[in-house]
Subunit: 354 residues, 2 copies
């Protein structure tokens, strides 16, 4: 199957979750020994997970965080506090197990899969690294498109394939992660285009720019949107024009997981750009996405406001890698444990009350 | 040692955490392979935990959630959606392992200790139940004091003793929990007195009152504060006058844990009332308290605003039992794992950058 065929076949497989399953889940939740709906958002998460799995007693088997790594030639415009070679160095850190995502994934009982989908310099053979590079860095979006539409489809297909393989291997909970020096710049540009918001509203300090740096970055993002505006005729073209390889991979992971009826914890600002592209390609994908956290990157809040979505936690994190998603995985699993394991009023011999 | 002696000896043992330990913790956090402070509140939690433990590489051994159960004769005023006997039934559910706190504590790897400190009807011998009843239900606070000062000291001492025994048994992370039909009423009254806020601002639906019920409850809380105002001359007297047995037990647990340099995850609205009493008895206790979540009970927000504190999560939970604290335990342990387990820039061969 070509990348394009995989992409074309995946989208129609994604179906909205059935309201009947949500209702069924709440029926059980309301029978458990607690005041009705007193576990708040935890119950909403549980109901949606049950509806995604379409099982009366869903069991979590494998959990996996997918860290897509890619570079961005737009760093030449001075938009990042770190030099581009850090992307490759961090890839080595991921496979070595020393990064924040390794620690938090371990805590969540999740595997970490590291994918070179767009790193500028080949990291070479590394145990644990998946070498699925589509392009050695996205092109400078301040001067032209990040990639061709064909390259975007290939990167999306890599994400779909990772989700499919994981589903085949009994991974029941998936999570997105990213690594890419400079990638808050394309993420801001893509969110601006897909949310139809002023680019300036979506720009923040990223890994640690000062005020002058943020002002410069704001101009770069505005320029990127202006230069590429005519190309952004549909979500896929926008992803190709102002996105990035890792953002496209994340988009693909969301699509692939949804097509296989697996929930996805979506990490922070970068992952949200990929997830939003997936939502624009196929609105039903939203039912499978669990937005993990509110990033400290200020543009993230705009996304939640505009799309009327709610993050699971808000801890001022702004690291990426899937770190927020790993924390959300624990809370999602807590929610499902409540649903599966609590005693009912009947079992405990208590009248349901209010 | 009498209860009063235990109480009197514990307060002076509580020392503020050393700023030097916080600084030392941040020195390590800033050396780890991530942009400086990019893990946000997680890093604040880690630094404070290190300062509480006063260890370069703190290790978590045991974790324990203490569920203090007590009744409130103020339910005669019609302030609760559930009848009083549910307290005792839920105590049975806790020792049977079927309640929400059992599920979430299991997920956090924590033990659950269930303490009858003030249940109205003796639940009898039950495997796993600690029968440390000080009084068979707090008296009706709309008509007079909840208990005598001596009873309050005894209930606080029960909490201190539980913390001491846990610390002796290598419990390194503690968490508070409560069960008590009607206990948002004394919690609101005690918070009103200790925060010096209008009682009306702190009253909410509890386990599920309707608007008329909330209006009635508001009058009851206002009456409780008015009737007991003259008795509330100091924090201990206030705790006795408008508190409850389980609230006093939670207060004691916070004091006892802090005296033994153990961090405490403080659950929701009820636990906050107990923790605030501890803070008023001994301001240094605050350094040891980790407020777990923002309850859906609307008065809880007033506490955070007035005391300028920040909850770890906000999931619209309003169940109590320690359920929010159990979730916070996982996040606190995540924070410490980040601190202990991540690679430094030097180890990973990366320049620290910004």
């Amino acid at each position: 199957m070509t990348h394009r065929e995989l992409y074309d076949r995946t989208l129609p497989m994604i179906q909205p979750v059935a309201p009947a399953w949500i209702a069924k889940a709440y029926q059980r939740l309301d029978s458990l020994t607690k005041p009705r709906r007193s576990l708040g958002y935890l119950e909403e998460l549980a109901a949606r997970l049950v509806a995604v799995f379409q099982q009366e007693q869903p069991k979590i088997e494998g959990k996996r965080v997918f860290v897509f790594a890619g570079d961005h030639k737009v760093v030449a415009e001075g938009v990042s506090a770190y030099p581009a070679e850090v992307t490759g160095l961090m890839v080595k850190n991921f496979v070595g197990g020393g990064a924040a995502i390794n620690v938090l994934a371990r805590r969540a009982g999740a595997q970490v899969e590291v994918i070179d989908i767009g790193v500028a310099t080949d990291p070479g053979e590394l145990p644990g690294l998946l070498r699925l590079n589509v392009k050695r860095g996205a092109d400078n979006i301040a001067r032209g498109p990040a990639m061709t539409v064909d390259e975007a489809v290939r990167a999306v297909a890599v994400g779909i394939e990772r989700a499919n393989l994981a589903a085949d291997n009994h991974v029941t909970l998936m999570a997105t992660g990213d690594m890419g020096i400079g990638n808050t710049t394309p993420a801001a540009a893509l969110l601006a285009v897909l949310l139809d918001l002023p680019a300036a509203d979506l720009v923040g300090p990223g890994t640690g720019l000062d005020a002058a740096g943020v002002a410069r970055k704001r101009q770069v993002v505005q320029k990127a949107v202006a230069v590429n505006q005519a190309r952004c005729t549909d979500p896929l073209s926008a992803l190709a024009a102002v996105g990035g390889l890792e953002i496209a991979g994340i988009c693909g992971l969301c699509l692939g997981a949804a097509a296989r009826a697996r929930p996805v914890a979506v990490d922070g600002f970068i992952s949200t750009a990929g997830a939003l592209a997936a939502m624009r390609l196929c609105p039903a994908v939203k039912d499978y996405l669990f937005f993990a956290h509110m990033s400290a990157e200020p543009g993230h809040r705009k996304f939640f406001e505009k799309e009327r979505l709610r993050p699971i936690v808000d801890l001022d994190m702004r690291l990426g890698e899937g770190t927020g998603a790993a924390i959300a995985l624990q809370i999602m699993e807590n929610a499902l444990a409540i649903y599966n394991e609590m005693a009912t009023f009947q079992e405990a011999g208590i009248a349901p009350g209010a």
